[in-house]
């Protein structure tokens, strides 16, 4: 790592995250003065206003420039979507974990201007006002969450066009479409005109934004004494004058062009999963090759530029949340997830020299952001996977590993073309998408375990005493296991309907009030259709519901089947009694339920068949249903940190879990229930049909000794390959002993830099909530035999 990068990295890691009021002030000013604009034009002019007035930042030593806020890690807020309360700001400023510094000026601005103006106007307020009582009750009970209540639909990644076209090109295309509008015969012509004009405004805005950086760089250069830095600043100025107006011609221009686009997307709205460059190695490679061949660039320089680029991601902590969602997802990570390897659109192997260079960058930088993954297809050389696993072995959870062939199959099943599927990959945690062409919106987590709790109480939530679901019968009178499953299915269908009805309303609110013309410009087919990203403009429009707790659900049902229906050693009445008092004075019953139940994750069909059945039920309950944008619903099986929240609202469960404890995460087995080693785990996981999802998440934890030496690493490689032969979607590893994690709990001051894999991302262990720390410790540790 060069001295420059070491210094940039140090400053980024040490910078304290803060809340900046810059964006909120500009947005409030703009909205107060805006009159008579259609929704797309309002958003486009707001974008233009922000980029024209926000502070421009170029820091010492930087090669890639531009910040979302007025300084690194100064995170803006988005009051038009959700407006922080004074209490929110105080909490952010004072909480022990994941704090954001808030100064008095910001709080005063919120109190005096932002809150009075945005109250009732913010989209969040409108969403909650629009939801049905059934939706609100289920939401409060923790049956599902809602992603769009304070962040905008994003869940997408950039395509190759970001590295091949400039915004002048886009603008020309927009103008052509405007020319072609048929105002006489197309009833949507006016709407399209407004959308296209809005897109055009954002093209100009981003070009001007880059030019402001060029101007500042020239100013700084003028003040700088003759020397290397002065030359660099002049070069920065040249790059920023060129891109993103024009298509990038060099490696440096390619990175800077993308970075401006990234800033555009995350400034326009607080899109989920930030944004990411998609298949970075593949898109940058032609520029890299040309520069290297022409002698303009060395491998060392390319690496330094990439590392400067990496720092920019780390400078952008997730926008601070409001209200209860704070508890659901406490992290600075904003889920930009860089893909390497995989396939080329023509189906050939996508690994190139840059792919290896990117892995070296990941290894050297060791940053929370960006997150990184490798896409492994059957065509991927072993040495690439091995290289990645050597980094995985170091124990901080990156990169995660995806099955490119499964991702392609999943996307094909959803109707994508082979080329679009292969240029796709995974973003956020594990979500498959056609990069640059698809809005694949995660709408919320769905608490599969809570549904069981309601089923066992005839639709009543024992935590609150409220009848939330339909009456599906007294479980003590169910004739058999199938009757129980049928009741579960009814409860699930009911809550899926409630969720999806809410989703439809929220989709319409975004489509009509929060279009994203800038994101639309760079997402294919939006220009062609004259439609917004949030209104069905992209080539593909998918909505997701993410199932959480399949492990806990399976083991719970397995326990009921075994003890109540098959062996009849316990009645449903007894079981419900014990659960109702959270196993008080029933240690023996609890241990019987835990020890004498076939558990998911052990390659035991008794349990795994139940998993398959429940997966099918959930999958078929969601898959293929229409959304309001001409697309369809699909499922993902991933939790982020929601398994902790869902556990905290769910009472004791029949597999021995105590009330309010986390449920299982991703598709992983219940923490500690898998006892037959890693091959049995992945066999069980592979019994789920991953191809019918848009992503599954499997966490495995190894003690470091199991991966020591070349031979053991090779066996890990074979484990991954075998899982992928069975169509597993994703696997990620924690390589750290429980002992180390416990020591870190006791002496956090000595373990500040300990990074662990949480769900689809890595985080500093000491920054995690105690509940999440305990949950990670409880995951089965695969040791050596």
């Amino acid at each position: 790592m060069s001295e420059r990068v070491a210094e940039l990295r140090r400053r980024s890691v040490e910078a304290q995250a803060s809340v900046s009021s810059e964006r909120a002030r500009l947005m409030t000013e703009f909205y107060k003065s805006a009159r008579g604009l259609s929704a797309p034009m309002l958003r486009a002019r707001a974008f233009e206003y922000l980029l024209a007035h926000k502070a421009i930042v170029i820091q010492d030593g930087e090669l890639i420039v531009g910040e979302r806020g007025p300084a690194p890690k100064a995170s803006p807020t988005y009051p038009e979507l959700c407006c922080h309360t004074v209490e929110d700001l105080e909490l952010l400023n004072s909480r022990e974990k994941i704090p954001y510094a808030v100064d008095a000026v910001t709080t005063a601005f919120y109190e005096q201007e932002a809150i009075p103006f945005w109250r009732g106007r913010s989209l969040r307020d409108q969403i909650f006002a629009a939801m049905t009582p059934e939706w609100l009750a289920a939401y409060d009970a923790g049956i599902f969450t809602e992603f769009m209540e304070q962040r905008a639909p994003g869940h997408t990644a950039g395509g190759g066009q970001n590295f091949r076209r400039g915004f002048l090109d886009y603008k020309r295309e927009v103008e052509e479409q405007l020319e072609r509008l048929d105002y006489l015969r197309d009833p949507e012509a006016y709407a399209k005109q407004e959308e296209l004009r809005a897109m055009s405004v954002t093209c100009d805005a981003i070009i001007r934004f880059a030019e402001r950086h060029a101007e500042l760089a020239r100013e700084l250069a003028a003040k700088e004494a003759e020397g290397a830095r002065r030359q660099e600043l002049l070069q920065i100025a040249e790059v920023c004058s060129r891109v993103p107006a024009h298509a990038p011609r060099t490696f440096w221009e390619g990175l800077q062009a993308y970075w401006f686009i990234h800033l555009g997307v995350i400034t326009e709205l607080n899109t989920w999963d930030a944004f990411n460059p998609g298949r970075l190695d593949q898109h940058l490679y032609p520029l890299y090759r040309q520069d290297i061949d022409a002698g303009r660039l060395t491998e060392e320089q390319a690496k330094e530029l990439l590392e400067c680029f990496w720092v920019k991601f780390n400078n952008q902590p997730a926008p601070p949340k409001v209200g209860v969602t704070n508890a659901e997802s406490g992290t600075y990570t904003d889920f930009a997830n860089i893909n390497s390897g995989g396939l080329m659109p023509d189906g050939s192997d996508g690994v190139n020299e840059l792919s290896y260079l990117v892995l070296d960058v990941i290894d050297e930088m060791r940053l929370l952001q960006p997150s990184s993954n490798v896409q492994i297809s059957k065509k991927t050389p072993d040495r690439f996977l091995r290289h990645a696993l050597r980094i995985v072995r170091k124990g901080w959870g990156q990169p995660s590993i995806f099955n490119a062939d499964a991702v392609v199959q999943e996307l094909l099943r959803q109707g994508k073309t082979p080329e679009d599927a292969r240029e796709g990959g995974t973003s956020g945690c594990v979500e498959a998408g056609a990069f640059g062409k698809e809005a694949y919106i995660l709408t919320g987590y769905f608490n599969l375990v809570k549904i069981l709790e309601l089923t066992l109480h005839d639709g009543l939530d024992p935590r609150t005493g409220r009848q939330l679901g339909p009456h599906t019968g007294d479980p003590r009178e169910f004739a058999d296991f199938d009757a129980l499953i049928e009741a579960y299915a009814q409860q699930m269908r009911y809550f899926l309907d409630v969720k999806i009805r809410g989703n439809h309303q929220i989709e319409r609110l975004y489509a009509t009030q929060m279009p994203a013309p800038f994101l639309s410009v760079i997402t294919e087919d939006c220009i062609k259709k004259g439609k917004d990203y949030n209104d069905g403009g992209p080539r593909y429009n998918t909505s997701y519901i993410q199932g959480v707790g399949i492990g806990t659900l399976t083991d719970s049902l397995s326990a009921i089947k075994r003890h109540v229906y098959d062996e009849r050693g316990m009645t449903m009445k007894e079981l419900l009694g014990v659960l109702g008092r959270d196993f008080a004075d029933a240690d023996d019953v609890r241990s019987r339920l835990m020890e004498e139940t076939p558990r998911y994750g052990n390659d035991d069909d008794y349990a795994d068949d139940i998993m398959r059945r429940m997966f099918d039920l959930f999958q078929s309950g969601v898959d293929g249903r229409p959304n309001t944008k001409g697309g369809t619903y699909r499922i993902d099986m991933l939790p982020t940190t929601c398994h902790v929240y869902f556990g905290s609202v769910t009472g004791a469960t029949p597999e021995g879990r105590h009330a309010w404890q986390p449920v299982s995460e991703g598709i992983s087995p219940v923490q500690g229930a898998d006892r037959n080693g890693p091959t049995a785990v992945v066999k069980s996981m592979a019994k789920m049909d991953h191809i019918r999802t848009g992503g599954t998440l499997l966490n495995m934890k190894f003690i470091p000794q199991v991966l020591e030496g070349d031979e053991n690493l090779e066996k890990l490689l074979h484990l991954v390959r075998a899982y992928f032969r069975m169509d597993g979607h994703h696997i990620q590893f924690n390589v750290v002993s429980a002992e180390t994690l416990r020591a870190a709990q006791l002496h956090p001051e000595d373990y500040r830099d300990l990074i662990v894999r949480v769900a689809g991302y890595s985080d500093y262990f000491c920054d995690l909530s105690r509940a999440l720390q305990d949950e990670i410790i409880a995951r089965t540790e695969h040791a050596s035999f």
């Binding site: 080693g677 091959t679 031979e711 074979h718 032969r725 069975m726 035999f785």
Partner: protein, 267 residues
């Protein structure tokens, strides 16, 4: 599926554990099948629950009990072993029969090996080598790899530490090697028991004289099995024996290498 020979799928034997994703007992990802019973009584044994032919009870600290040893049929064992076929395919792994000493149940072992071969699985056998040649010879054609323990070269010392003479062990090894079997010799190195120059010199000389022995693996003594002794209610007599240092292992390996023997530390 091609069956070489008739397999007695219903033949039964005593198994005390089956472990998947075993990393140190042959090439690739392997499943270890532990057969019960051992003619030796090594003080350092890390599977003491496998020593007796009959089931043994382990009493855990929390009061629960586990019985080590249950009768299993060949087809039952195979069903477990075959669960990881995809991992064997991917890694070049297979099944390893261990113990105890699997040659204590020669008929069962033979049927298991035949069944494995009938299912096209790679096989390995981990043994003390203490068996009648008449029991070794029939199984040998079905074994792809022998992991053959050689604890001490001196017959008297061998008897003192393991309870039996090493005469049969050495002669079986000679015969196996002469037949061209693929053998890896393994030496559990226990400080104060067999880590002296004299023993390693003698081992080196002996191994060098054998034709087909591929290499020697030196396995450093570890105390991982100690808690099992308590659970079995048996004294652990090597209580304060230290685990050998890495440098000491290197030194001992060098002695074998002087004899031209390919030597590796660890399994």
């Amino acid at each position: 599926m091609h069956h070489w020979e008739v397999v007695m799928a219903t033949a039964e034997g005593m198994v005390f554990d089956i472990q998947r994703y075993a990393l140190h007992d042959g090439a690739g990802i392997r499943t270890l099948v532990f057969l019960k019973g051992c003619p030796l009584r090594c003080a350092w044994c890390h599977n003491p629950e496998g020593q007796q032919k009959r089931p043994q009870v382990l009493r855990y600290e929390n009061g629960t009990e586990k019985i080590a040893g249950r009768r299993m049929r060949v087809d039952e064992v195979l069903r477990e072993v075959e669960k990881d076929t995809i991992f064997y395919d991917e890694s070049g792994g297979g099944v390893t029969f261990s113990g105890g000493d699997p040659l204590v149940q020669p008929g069962f072992l033979l049927e298991l090996l035949k069944a494995c071969k009938g299912h096209d699985l790679r096989t390995a056998v981990e043994t003390s080598g203490y068996a009648r040649w008449e029991d070794v010879a029939p199984v040998a054609p079905y074994v792809d790899l022998w992991l053959y323990d050689l604890k001490l070269m001196d017959p008297e010392r061998h008897r003192r530490w393991t309870g039996v003479s090493n005469r049969r062990i050495l002669s079986n090894l000679e015969q196996l090697a002469a037949s061209g079997a693929h053998v890896i010799v393994r030496i559990p190195l226990v400080p104060g028991v067999n880590d002296d120059r004299q023993n390693l010199e003698a081992t080196g000389r002996f191994v060098a004289s054998l034709g087909s022995v591929g290499e020697v693996h030196l396995l450093p003594y570890h105390r991982a099995g100690m808690s099992k002794y308590e659970r079995l209610g048996v004294d652990y007599t090597l209580g304060d024996t230290p685990e050998p240092a890495a440098e000491a292992m290197e030194r001992l390996a060098a002695i074998l290498q002087e004899w031209g023997v390919r030597t590796k530390i660890g399994g």
